[in-house]
Amino acid sequence: MKKYAYIIFIALLIIAFQQALVSQINLFGVTVDIVFVFIISFALLRNEIESVFLALFCGVIRDCFFPFLFGINSIVYIISAYILSQVQKRIFKNSLIIPVFFTFVFTIFKIIFYFSYFFIASIKFNFRLHVFQLFILEPFYNSLVSLFLYRFTKNICSKDIMSEQWKF
Protein backbone atom coordinates (compact mmCIF):
# COMPACT_ATOMS: atom_id res chain seq x y z
CA MET A 1 0.00 0.00 0.00
CA LYS A 2 2.97 2.29 0.74
CA LYS A 3 3.92 1.91 -2.89
CA TYR A 4 0.57 3.21 -4.12
CA ALA A 5 0.67 6.18 -1.75
CA TYR A 6 4.08 7.03 -3.21
CA ILE A 7 2.73 6.78 -6.77
CA ILE A 8 -0.20 9.04 -5.87
CA PHE A 9 2.14 11.62 -4.33
CA ILE A 10 4.38 11.75 -7.42
CA ALA A 11 1.36 11.89 -9.72
CA LEU A 12 -0.15 14.82 -7.82
CA LEU A 13 3.13 16.69 -7.97
CA ILE A 14 3.48 16.14 -11.72
CA ILE A 15 -0.12 17.21 -12.40
CA ALA A 16 0.32 20.38 -10.36
CA PHE A 17 3.52 21.16 -12.25
CA GLN A 18 1.85 20.54 -15.60
CA GLN A 19 -1.12 22.79 -14.89
CA ALA A 20 0.69 25.60 -13.12
CA LEU A 21 4.07 25.75 -14.85
CA VAL A 22 4.48 23.70 -18.01
CA SER A 23 1.25 24.89 -19.63
CA GLN A 24 2.59 28.46 -19.40
CA ILE A 25 5.57 27.72 -21.60
CA ASN A 26 4.53 27.60 -25.20
CA LEU A 27 6.67 27.45 -28.28
CA PHE A 28 4.84 28.22 -31.53
CA GLY A 29 1.53 27.90 -29.73
CA VAL A 30 2.04 24.32 -28.52
CA THR A 31 2.66 23.11 -24.98
CA VAL A 32 4.12 19.85 -23.73
CA ASP A 33 2.00 17.30 -21.83
CA ILE A 34 4.36 15.93 -19.17
CA VAL A 35 1.62 13.93 -17.45
CA PHE A 36 1.13 11.85 -20.59
CA VAL A 37 4.87 11.40 -21.05
CA PHE A 38 5.20 10.33 -17.41
CA ILE A 39 2.43 7.75 -17.81
CA ILE A 40 4.13 6.32 -20.91
CA SER A 41 7.53 6.15 -19.19
CA PHE A 42 5.95 4.56 -16.13
CA ALA A 43 4.10 1.97 -18.22
CA LEU A 44 7.37 1.04 -19.94
CA LEU A 45 9.07 0.39 -16.59
CA ARG A 46 6.45 -1.08 -14.25
CA ASN A 47 3.82 -3.81 -14.34
CA GLU A 48 0.35 -3.41 -15.79
CA ILE A 49 -1.66 -2.99 -12.58
CA GLU A 50 0.46 -0.12 -11.34
CA SER A 51 0.47 1.64 -14.70
CA VAL A 52 -3.30 1.35 -15.18
CA PHE A 53 -3.80 2.57 -11.60
CA LEU A 54 -1.57 5.61 -12.24
CA ALA A 55 -3.32 6.31 -15.54
CA LEU A 56 -6.74 6.14 -13.92
CA PHE A 57 -5.71 8.44 -11.07
CA CYS A 58 -4.07 11.04 -13.32
CA GLY A 59 -6.89 10.84 -15.84
CA VAL A 60 -9.66 11.54 -13.33
CA ILE A 61 -7.83 14.56 -11.92
CA ARG A 62 -6.99 15.96 -15.34
CA ASP A 63 -10.62 15.48 -16.35
CA CYS A 64 -11.88 17.50 -13.41
CA PHE A 65 -9.92 20.47 -14.73
CA PHE A 66 -10.88 19.86 -18.36
CA PRO A 67 -13.53 22.13 -19.86
CA PHE A 68 -16.88 20.93 -21.24
CA LEU A 69 -16.23 17.17 -21.10
CA PHE A 70 -15.42 14.67 -18.35
CA GLY A 71 -13.68 11.43 -19.23
CA ILE A 72 -11.59 11.91 -22.36
CA ASN A 73 -8.24 12.12 -20.59
CA SER A 74 -9.00 9.05 -18.50
CA ILE A 75 -9.85 6.94 -21.53
CA VAL A 76 -6.74 8.00 -23.46
CA TYR A 77 -4.44 7.48 -20.47
CA ILE A 78 -5.86 4.08 -19.49
CA ILE A 79 -5.76 2.66 -23.02
CA SER A 80 -2.21 3.91 -23.60
CA ALA A 81 -1.00 2.55 -20.26
CA TYR A 82 -2.60 -0.85 -20.84
CA ILE A 83 -1.32 -1.30 -24.39
CA LEU A 84 2.20 -0.18 -23.43
CA SER A 85 2.37 -2.42 -20.38
CA GLN A 86 1.46 -5.37 -22.61
CA VAL A 87 4.02 -4.37 -25.24
CA GLN A 88 6.88 -3.73 -22.83
CA LYS A 89 7.02 -7.37 -21.70
CA ARG A 90 7.90 -8.48 -25.22
CA ILE A 91 10.57 -5.96 -26.20
CA PHE A 92 14.16 -5.22 -25.29
CA LYS A 93 14.06 -1.74 -23.81
CA ASN A 94 17.59 -0.95 -22.81
CA SER A 95 17.75 2.03 -25.12
CA LEU A 96 16.46 5.59 -25.03
CA ILE A 97 14.99 5.22 -28.52
CA ILE A 98 12.14 3.13 -27.10
CA PRO A 99 10.45 5.80 -24.91
CA VAL A 100 11.03 8.45 -27.59
CA PHE A 101 9.43 6.30 -30.26
CA PHE A 102 6.45 5.26 -28.16
CA THR A 103 5.83 8.82 -26.97
CA PHE A 104 5.73 9.99 -30.56
CA VAL A 105 3.32 7.28 -31.67
CA PHE A 106 1.02 7.53 -28.68
CA THR A 107 0.82 11.33 -28.83
CA ILE A 108 -0.47 11.05 -32.38
CA PHE A 109 -2.93 8.40 -31.19
CA LYS A 110 -4.01 10.75 -28.39
CA ILE A 111 -4.64 13.64 -30.79
CA ILE A 112 -6.75 11.50 -33.13
CA PHE A 113 -8.70 10.21 -30.16
CA TYR A 114 -9.35 13.69 -28.76
CA PHE A 115 -10.43 14.99 -32.12
CA SER A 116 -12.88 12.16 -32.70
CA TYR A 117 -14.42 12.62 -29.25
CA PHE A 118 -14.73 16.38 -29.75
CA PHE A 119 -16.40 15.67 -33.07
CA ILE A 120 -18.92 13.35 -31.41
CA ALA A 121 -19.55 15.88 -28.63
CA SER A 122 -20.14 18.51 -31.36
CA ILE A 123 -17.30 20.78 -30.24
CA LYS A 124 -16.13 21.98 -33.64
CA PHE A 125 -12.49 22.71 -34.45
CA ASN A 126 -10.99 23.89 -37.67
CA PHE A 127 -8.93 20.76 -38.17
CA ARG A 128 -7.04 22.01 -41.22
CA LEU A 129 -5.54 24.89 -39.26
CA HIS A 130 -4.50 22.71 -36.34
CA VAL A 131 -2.83 19.93 -38.33
CA PHE A 132 0.70 21.29 -38.33
CA GLN A 133 0.78 22.26 -34.67
CA LEU A 134 -0.81 19.10 -33.39
CA PHE A 135 0.55 16.37 -35.61
CA ILE A 136 4.11 17.59 -35.92
CA LEU A 137 4.99 19.92 -33.08
CA GLU A 138 3.29 18.25 -30.12
CA PRO A 139 4.62 14.71 -30.76
CA PHE A 140 8.06 16.19 -31.39
CA TYR A 141 8.10 18.20 -28.16
CA ASN A 142 6.71 15.32 -26.14
CA SER A 143 9.34 12.89 -27.40
CA LEU A 144 12.06 15.42 -26.66
CA VAL A 145 10.81 15.76 -23.08
CA SER A 146 10.54 11.98 -22.72
CA LEU A 147 14.34 11.75 -22.99
CA PHE A 148 14.63 13.49 -19.61
CA LEU A 149 11.44 12.27 -18.01
CA TYR A 150 12.29 8.61 -18.72
CA ARG A 151 15.48 8.91 -16.67
CA PHE A 152 13.57 10.69 -13.91
CA THR A 153 10.97 7.92 -13.86
CA LYS A 154 13.74 5.31 -13.76
CA ASN A 155 15.15 7.00 -10.69
CA ILE A 156 11.77 7.01 -9.02
CA CYS A 157 11.22 3.35 -9.81
CA SER A 158 14.60 2.33 -8.36
CA LYS A 159 13.64 3.54 -4.86
CA ASP A 160 13.29 0.92 -2.11
CA ILE A 161 9.63 1.71 -1.67
CA MET A 162 8.88 0.68 -5.25
CA SER A 163 10.62 -2.72 -5.11
CA GLU A 164 8.57 -5.82 -5.86
CA GLN A 165 7.97 -8.21 -3.00
CA TRP A 166 8.48 -11.84 -3.78
CA LYS A 167 5.72 -14.24 -2.86
CA PHE A 168 6.33 -17.96 -2.35
Binding site: L12, S23, P67, G71, I75, I120
Partner: protein, 277 residues
Protein backbone atom coordinates in the same frame (compact mmCIF):
# COMPACT_ATOMS: atom_id res chain seq x y z
CA UNK B 1 -3.54 -8.94 -6.93
CA UNK B 2 -3.66 -12.11 -9.03
CA UNK B 3 -7.35 -11.61 -9.54
CA UNK B 4 -6.68 -8.06 -10.75
CA UNK B 5 -4.00 -9.29 -13.11
CA UNK B 6 -6.26 -11.88 -14.73
CA UNK B 7 -9.19 -9.57 -15.10
CA UNK B 8 -7.26 -6.41 -16.06
CA UNK B 9 -8.45 -6.33 -19.66
CA UNK B 10 -12.08 -6.55 -18.52
CA UNK B 11 -11.51 -3.79 -15.97
CA UNK B 12 -9.89 -1.56 -18.58
CA UNK B 13 -12.76 -2.09 -21.00
CA UNK B 14 -15.39 -1.46 -18.31
CA UNK B 15 -13.60 1.74 -17.25
CA UNK B 16 -13.46 2.94 -20.86
CA UNK B 17 -17.17 2.29 -21.26
CA UNK B 18 -17.96 4.10 -18.03
CA UNK B 19 -15.90 7.14 -19.00
CA UNK B 20 -17.50 7.19 -22.46
CA UNK B 21 -20.88 7.40 -20.72
CA UNK B 22 -19.54 10.27 -18.60
CA UNK B 23 -18.39 12.03 -21.78
CA UNK B 24 -21.88 11.57 -23.20
CA UNK B 25 -23.55 13.01 -20.13
CA UNK B 26 -21.28 16.05 -19.88
CA UNK B 27 -21.35 16.66 -23.64
CA UNK B 28 -25.11 16.85 -23.49
CA UNK B 29 -25.10 19.77 -21.07
CA UNK B 30 -21.72 21.25 -22.15
CA UNK B 31 -20.82 21.68 -18.50
CA UNK B 32 -18.20 19.72 -16.58
CA UNK B 33 -19.22 20.48 -13.01
CA UNK B 34 -20.36 18.34 -10.12
CA UNK B 35 -19.60 17.16 -6.62
CA UNK B 36 -16.61 14.97 -7.59
CA UNK B 37 -15.07 17.65 -9.79
CA UNK B 38 -15.58 20.26 -7.08
CA UNK B 39 -13.99 18.11 -4.39
CA UNK B 40 -10.95 17.16 -6.46
CA UNK B 41 -10.29 20.65 -7.81
CA UNK B 42 -10.51 22.22 -4.37
CA UNK B 43 -8.00 19.71 -2.95
CA UNK B 44 -5.43 20.35 -5.68
CA UNK B 45 -5.93 24.13 -5.78
CA UNK B 46 -3.74 25.10 -2.76
CA UNK B 47 -0.69 23.17 -4.02
CA UNK B 48 -1.10 24.52 -7.50
CA UNK B 49 -1.48 28.11 -6.32
CA UNK B 50 2.00 28.18 -4.80
CA UNK B 51 3.63 26.51 -7.79
CA UNK B 52 1.93 29.03 -10.10
CA UNK B 53 3.18 31.99 -8.05
CA UNK B 54 6.70 30.56 -8.01
CA UNK B 55 6.58 30.16 -11.79
CA UNK B 56 5.42 33.74 -12.21
CA UNK B 57 8.31 34.97 -10.03
CA UNK B 58 10.82 33.16 -12.22
CA UNK B 59 9.09 34.55 -15.29
CA UNK B 60 9.26 38.09 -13.89
CA UNK B 61 12.95 37.69 -13.10
CA UNK B 62 13.75 36.56 -16.64
CA UNK B 63 11.66 39.42 -18.01
CA UNK B 64 13.44 41.94 -15.79
CA UNK B 65 16.89 40.81 -16.90
CA UNK B 66 15.95 40.79 -20.56
CA UNK B 67 14.30 44.21 -20.38
CA UNK B 68 17.23 46.11 -18.82
CA UNK B 69 18.68 47.00 -22.23
CA UNK B 70 15.48 48.54 -23.54
CA UNK B 71 14.60 50.47 -20.37
CA UNK B 72 16.00 53.81 -21.52
CA UNK B 73 14.12 53.73 -24.83
CA UNK B 74 10.90 52.74 -23.12
CA UNK B 75 11.28 55.51 -20.57
CA UNK B 76 11.50 58.15 -23.30
CA UNK B 77 8.49 56.70 -25.08
CA UNK B 78 6.43 56.65 -21.91
CA UNK B 79 7.32 60.26 -21.09
CA UNK B 80 6.04 61.34 -24.49
CA UNK B 81 2.88 59.34 -23.94
CA UNK B 82 2.31 61.01 -20.56
CA UNK B 83 2.51 64.44 -22.15
CA UNK B 84 -0.05 63.45 -24.78
CA UNK B 85 -2.34 61.94 -22.20
CA UNK B 86 -2.14 65.02 -19.97
CA UNK B 87 -3.38 67.16 -22.81
CA UNK B 88 -6.21 64.73 -23.40
CA UNK B 89 -7.06 64.77 -19.71
CA UNK B 90 -7.72 68.51 -19.74
CA UNK B 91 -10.06 68.03 -22.68
CA UNK B 92 -11.73 65.15 -20.93
CA UNK B 93 -12.39 67.19 -17.80
CA UNK B 94 -14.01 69.88 -19.87
CA UNK B 95 -16.24 67.43 -21.71
CA UNK B 96 -17.19 65.74 -18.47
CA UNK B 97 -18.26 69.00 -16.89
CA UNK B 98 -20.22 69.96 -20.00
CA UNK B 99 -21.83 66.54 -20.13
CA UNK B 100 -22.94 66.77 -16.51
CA UNK B 101 -24.40 70.22 -17.02
CA UNK B 102 -26.29 69.16 -20.13
CA UNK B 103 -27.51 66.01 -18.43
CA UNK B 104 -28.88 68.00 -15.53
CA UNK B 105 -30.56 70.40 -17.97
CA UNK B 106 -32.27 67.51 -19.76
CA UNK B 107 -33.13 65.64 -16.54
CA UNK B 108 -31.61 62.40 -17.87
CA UNK B 109 -30.75 59.65 -15.45
CA UNK B 110 -27.07 58.87 -15.21
CA UNK B 111 -26.56 55.67 -17.20
CA UNK B 112 -23.27 54.77 -15.61
CA UNK B 113 -23.76 51.56 -13.63
CA UNK B 114 -22.06 50.72 -10.41
CA UNK B 115 -20.08 47.53 -10.85
CA UNK B 116 -18.80 45.26 -8.12
CA UNK B 117 -15.71 43.16 -8.42
CA UNK B 118 -14.49 39.94 -6.84
CA UNK B 119 -10.72 39.72 -6.96
CA UNK B 120 -9.05 36.35 -7.41
CA UNK B 121 -5.77 34.62 -8.16
CA UNK B 122 -5.03 32.73 -11.34
CA UNK B 123 -3.88 29.25 -10.38
CA UNK B 124 -3.30 27.47 -13.64
CA UNK B 125 -3.87 27.03 -17.31
CA UNK B 126 -5.70 23.93 -18.55
CA UNK B 127 -7.27 22.57 -21.70
CA UNK B 128 -4.00 21.35 -23.27
CA UNK B 129 -3.53 22.59 -26.83
CA UNK B 130 -7.22 22.59 -27.64
CA UNK B 131 -8.61 25.26 -25.36
CA UNK B 132 -7.26 28.41 -23.76
CA UNK B 133 -8.59 28.25 -20.24
CA UNK B 134 -7.51 29.76 -16.92
CA UNK B 135 -8.47 28.38 -13.51
CA UNK B 136 -9.22 30.97 -10.81
CA UNK B 137 -9.65 30.37 -7.10
CA UNK B 138 -13.14 31.79 -6.54
CA UNK B 139 -16.38 29.94 -7.14
CA UNK B 140 -20.00 29.53 -6.17
CA UNK B 141 -19.28 30.54 -2.57
CA UNK B 142 -18.18 34.02 -3.65
CA UNK B 143 -21.17 34.50 -5.93
CA UNK B 144 -19.58 33.70 -9.27
CA UNK B 145 -21.99 32.74 -12.05
CA UNK B 146 -21.57 31.34 -15.53
CA UNK B 147 -21.14 34.02 -18.19
CA UNK B 148 -19.65 36.75 -16.02
CA UNK B 149 -16.78 38.79 -17.45
CA UNK B 150 -13.28 38.56 -16.04
CA UNK B 151 -10.97 41.56 -16.29
CA UNK B 152 -7.38 42.39 -15.39
CA UNK B 153 -5.98 45.84 -14.79
CA UNK B 154 -5.17 46.30 -18.49
CA UNK B 155 -8.40 45.01 -19.97
CA UNK B 156 -10.68 42.08 -20.65
CA UNK B 157 -9.44 38.55 -19.95
CA UNK B 158 -12.46 36.42 -20.79
CA UNK B 159 -15.69 34.91 -19.61
CA UNK B 160 -16.51 32.40 -16.87
CA UNK B 161 -17.71 29.13 -18.42
CA UNK B 162 -17.85 26.69 -15.52
CA UNK B 163 -18.27 27.26 -11.80
CA UNK B 164 -17.36 24.80 -9.07
CA UNK B 165 -17.62 25.33 -5.34
CA UNK B 166 -14.24 27.00 -4.85
CA UNK B 167 -12.83 27.29 -8.36
CA UNK B 168 -14.03 28.39 -11.75
CA UNK B 169 -12.80 28.13 -15.33
CA UNK B 170 -12.38 31.18 -17.52
CA UNK B 171 -12.44 30.95 -21.33
CA UNK B 172 -9.98 33.61 -22.49
CA UNK B 173 -10.56 35.85 -25.50
CA UNK B 174 -7.73 34.05 -27.31
CA UNK B 175 -9.83 30.90 -27.67
CA UNK B 176 -11.71 30.12 -30.86
CA UNK B 177 -14.81 29.25 -28.87
CA UNK B 178 -15.09 32.65 -27.17
CA UNK B 179 -17.74 34.92 -28.67
CA UNK B 180 -17.83 38.28 -26.98
CA UNK B 181 -19.75 41.26 -28.39
CA UNK B 182 -17.43 44.21 -28.92
CA UNK B 183 -17.33 47.51 -30.71
CA UNK B 184 -14.72 49.73 -32.28
CA UNK B 185 -14.50 52.65 -29.89
CA UNK B 186 -13.80 55.37 -32.47
CA UNK B 187 -16.56 54.47 -34.95
CA UNK B 188 -19.06 52.68 -32.72
CA UNK B 189 -19.43 49.70 -35.08
CA UNK B 190 -20.46 46.47 -33.40
CA UNK B 191 -18.87 43.11 -34.02
CA UNK B 192 -18.05 39.77 -32.48
CA UNK B 193 -14.66 39.18 -30.86
CA UNK B 194 -13.32 35.66 -31.37
CA UNK B 195 -9.94 34.10 -30.71
CA UNK B 196 -7.40 33.29 -33.39
CA UNK B 197 -5.69 30.61 -31.35
CA UNK B 198 -3.90 28.69 -34.08
CA UNK B 199 -1.40 31.30 -35.19
CA UNK B 200 2.22 30.19 -34.92
CA UNK B 201 3.39 33.54 -33.57
CA UNK B 202 1.72 35.51 -30.77
CA UNK B 203 -1.83 34.54 -30.09
CA UNK B 204 -4.32 37.17 -31.17
CA UNK B 205 -8.04 37.68 -31.53
CA UNK B 206 -10.15 39.28 -34.19
CA UNK B 207 -13.39 41.18 -34.45
CA UNK B 208 -15.78 39.81 -37.07
CA UNK B 209 -18.86 41.22 -38.79
CA UNK B 210 -17.64 44.77 -39.29
CA UNK B 211 -19.44 46.45 -42.21
CA UNK B 212 -17.64 46.57 -45.58
CA UNK B 213 -17.44 50.38 -45.59
CA UNK B 214 -15.95 50.45 -42.09
CA UNK B 215 -13.91 53.48 -41.06
CA UNK B 216 -11.92 51.56 -38.46
CA UNK B 217 -8.18 51.78 -38.95
CA UNK B 218 -5.12 50.16 -37.35
CA UNK B 219 -4.47 51.69 -33.93
CA UNK B 220 -8.13 51.99 -32.96
CA UNK B 221 -9.22 50.57 -29.62
CA UNK B 222 -11.80 47.78 -29.37
CA UNK B 223 -13.99 47.68 -26.25
CA UNK B 224 -16.78 45.45 -24.97
CA UNK B 225 -20.37 46.39 -25.66
CA UNK B 226 -23.48 45.59 -23.64
CA UNK B 227 -25.54 44.88 -26.72
CA UNK B 228 -26.81 41.63 -25.21
CA UNK B 229 -28.89 41.56 -22.07
CA UNK B 230 -28.90 38.89 -19.42
CA UNK B 231 -31.04 39.04 -16.30
CA UNK B 232 -28.70 37.07 -14.04
CA UNK B 233 -25.38 38.68 -14.83
CA UNK B 234 -24.04 42.11 -15.60
CA UNK B 235 -22.46 42.69 -18.99
CA UNK B 236 -20.16 45.68 -18.55
CA UNK B 237 -19.52 47.98 -21.48
CA UNK B 238 -16.41 49.93 -22.47
CA UNK B 239 -13.83 47.54 -21.09
CA UNK B 240 -10.76 47.59 -23.26
CA UNK B 241 -10.08 44.45 -25.30
CA UNK B 242 -7.17 45.54 -27.46
CA UNK B 243 -5.92 47.61 -30.37
CA UNK B 244 -6.50 46.86 -34.05
CA UNK B 245 -3.37 45.85 -35.94
CA UNK B 246 -4.74 44.90 -39.36
CA UNK B 247 -8.03 45.02 -41.25
CA UNK B 248 -8.91 42.25 -43.65
CA UNK B 249 -11.77 41.92 -46.10
CA UNK B 250 -13.65 38.65 -45.94
CA UNK B 251 -15.08 38.47 -49.44
CA UNK B 252 -17.08 35.32 -48.83
CA UNK B 253 -19.06 36.89 -46.00
CA UNK B 254 -19.23 40.42 -47.45
CA UNK B 255 -17.85 41.58 -44.13
CA UNK B 256 -14.66 43.02 -42.75
CA UNK B 257 -12.63 41.51 -39.97
CA UNK B 258 -10.01 43.30 -37.90
CA UNK B 259 -7.15 41.59 -36.09
CA UNK B 260 -6.70 42.73 -32.49
CA UNK B 261 -3.66 42.68 -30.28
CA UNK B 262 -5.03 42.04 -26.77
CA UNK B 263 -4.11 44.65 -24.18
CA UNK B 264 -3.69 41.98 -21.50
CA UNK B 265 -0.42 40.08 -21.43
CA UNK B 266 -1.65 36.53 -20.89
CA UNK B 267 1.75 35.16 -19.96
CA UNK B 268 1.95 37.43 -16.90
CA UNK B 269 -1.44 37.09 -15.31
CA UNK B 270 -1.62 36.75 -11.54
CA UNK B 271 -4.57 38.72 -10.21
CA UNK B 272 -7.85 39.06 -12.05
CA UNK B 273 -11.28 40.45 -11.13
CA UNK B 274 -14.71 39.03 -11.86
CA UNK B 275 -17.45 41.55 -12.58
CA UNK B 276 -20.56 40.73 -10.54
CA UNK B 277 -23.89 42.47 -10.20
Amino acid sequence: MDFLKNKLLTIVLVLCLAFTIFVGITANKKDNTGIIQGAITSTITPVQKYIYIAGQRINNMVYYISSITSLRKENLRLNLEIQNLNQKLIEYERYKRENEELMSLLNLKNTHQNTKFVSSNVIGKVGENWFDILVIDVGEDEGIKKGQYVIASQGLVGQVIEVNKNTSKVLTILDEKSNIPGKVSSTGEDGMVVGEGNSLKDKMCKIDYLPLETKAKPGDIVVTSNIINNEDILIPSDIQIGTITKIEEEKSNLMNAAYIKPSVDFSKLQKVMVVIK
